[in-house]
Symmetry: C2
Subunit: 288 residues, 2 copies
């Protein structure tokens, strides 16, 4: 079956067609277009989908809180999809099964189905980018939660009374272990600049990135205590850089995790890169 | 079918027989005996089980980390069961299906099957006692994790660099939101004494218990962001006191949870009291 997956990001929209009869799932077509953040997202999805010829289902991934029926989307990035009955409108116009879900949850599904966490029943995806995204596979199934909002790992408070977070709490993990958090640790220097200096061997940047990695590790150990996953897949702009994954892995293995008597999960780099969200959306559209 | 559930605590062992053909599960027999913490736990379970007449399965709940095969138990309280091949030995002697699991996970199952969280697919149990225990129902199934160690909510760091925890980390939730945490907030006064003074209307004790409740709330909001449950069931010695549940509920509803655009889950008191662990063990022995 040809499964269309669409990942609607703030600036670009990536579409893939996954043929799920090939080796557990294989990307057979792919296209990227700019996102119109304020436009009619349902119409845009339908227009895009029709350019892919015959397809059997549509999955859509979006940054934000997506309800289980796919018909309420809470997002700060895409006013054009906010609270639109998105799933219903696309489904009625296409006459196909349509599922809408959180983009990090989609990425988790992709890495679990054909990526870095293939073959296990319990895995987490943590995307470290501008913010922190999360998705969980629990007992061989996607964990969605009661409303569809599970996996908001970034808003786990790890430093009560700490940095204020746009969500209204203080000390959220995202305030420390994201690109924004790294920039703050660096006194306002852009996270990309800090990472470049770190890769060049700059000692001050190394100190800052190590401190950042330790914040990442605090939250990862929390997730180990909570979920006991076999794999944690790191992705996102920051989280998929091999040098960052290596540093975080080292600190993760050295740190006191509070897991007396248990082996730590494997911390692995995402394999599917920026396509993970779209690929996972295709699997979710197919019933994951 | 008659399902035997055994909850082995540090000082006492509670056994129940659940008839799962009656109204989703009903307790038809019950007995409590002292725990012999250093004795042969497998032999003790077999002896106990044989006093209940004909039974169809055995479930055992134990405080500690229990592996998925029930054959490795990491516990600080019960040297007599530690790393014993407990499940295997009981099963071979009884000739019955036997499952061993964490006691808080058992309690979660009981409250989900016939207690406060009946009828939903996503629920958490948080027991506030000497420490913090946890169990999760995700998508209508018990979340066990890769090794069987999921639900160790108490070792989620909420105050990085804070109070040292016996687990080796600092700032674990358990260091603040448990009986031990309450005693520490009270400058060493026993948690039971503080609660009694609070119930008597003492203003200093009210301040301390409110501060304790706010620490409970920090972790609960974290779990909402992570799991998005329909219900959170509070149990355990401290967590099942109605006045504590009421205070925590009020602070939970007032607090900034970081859940923009979502309804909060229902925070409810456990219904099954001290029998929850044994009842849940019976359900787990029956295949939950």
């Amino acid at each position: 079956m040809r499964r269309l997956g669409i990942d609607i990001g703030g600036t670009k929209t990536l579409c893939v067609v996954v043929d799920d009869s090939v080796d557990g799932g294989s990307v057979v077509d792919e296209r990227q277009v700019p996102t119109d953040p304020t436009g009619d997202a349902a119409a845009a999805i339908v227009d895009l989908a029709r350019t892919f010829g015959e397809i059997d289902s549509v999955g859509v991934g979006i940054a934000g809180l997506v309800s289980r029926d796919g018909d309420v989307v809470v997002t700060t990035h895409l006013p054009g999809v906010r609270e639109l009955p998105l799933r219903e409108r696309v489904a009625s116009q296409m006459g196909l099964p349509v599922v809408v879900d959180n983009d990090a949850t989609c990425a988790a599904v992709a890495e679990w189905r054909i990526g870095a966490a293939r073959g296990v029943d319990d895995a987490l995806m943590v995307t470290l980018g501008t913010g922190i995204g999360g998705g969980a596979i629990v007992g061989g199934r996607v964990a969605r939660g009661h409303n569809g909002f599970a996996g908001e790992f970034g808003h786990m408070v790890v430093a009560r009374g700490g940095e204020p977070c746009p969500c209204g709490r203080r000390g959220c993990w995202e305030g420390y272990a994201s690109g924004g958090g790294l920039a703050r640790l660096a006194g306002g220097v852009a996270s990309e600049t800090v990472v470049e200096r770190f890769l060049d061997g700059d000692s001050r940047a190394t100190e800052i990135v190590t401190s950042f990695a330790d914040w990442v590790v605090v939250g990862l150990h929390n997730l180990v205590n909570i979920y006991d996953p076999a794999y944690i897949v790191l992705g996102g702009g920051l989280g998929s850089r091999p040098e960052i994954v290596e540093l975080v892995s080292t600190r993760f293995a050295e740190g006191e995790g509070g897991h007396v008597g248990r082996a730590l999960p494997s911390l692995v780099a995402a394999l599917l890169g920026q396509r993970a969200g779209a690929i996972g959306a295709a699997f979710i559209g197919a019933g994951d």
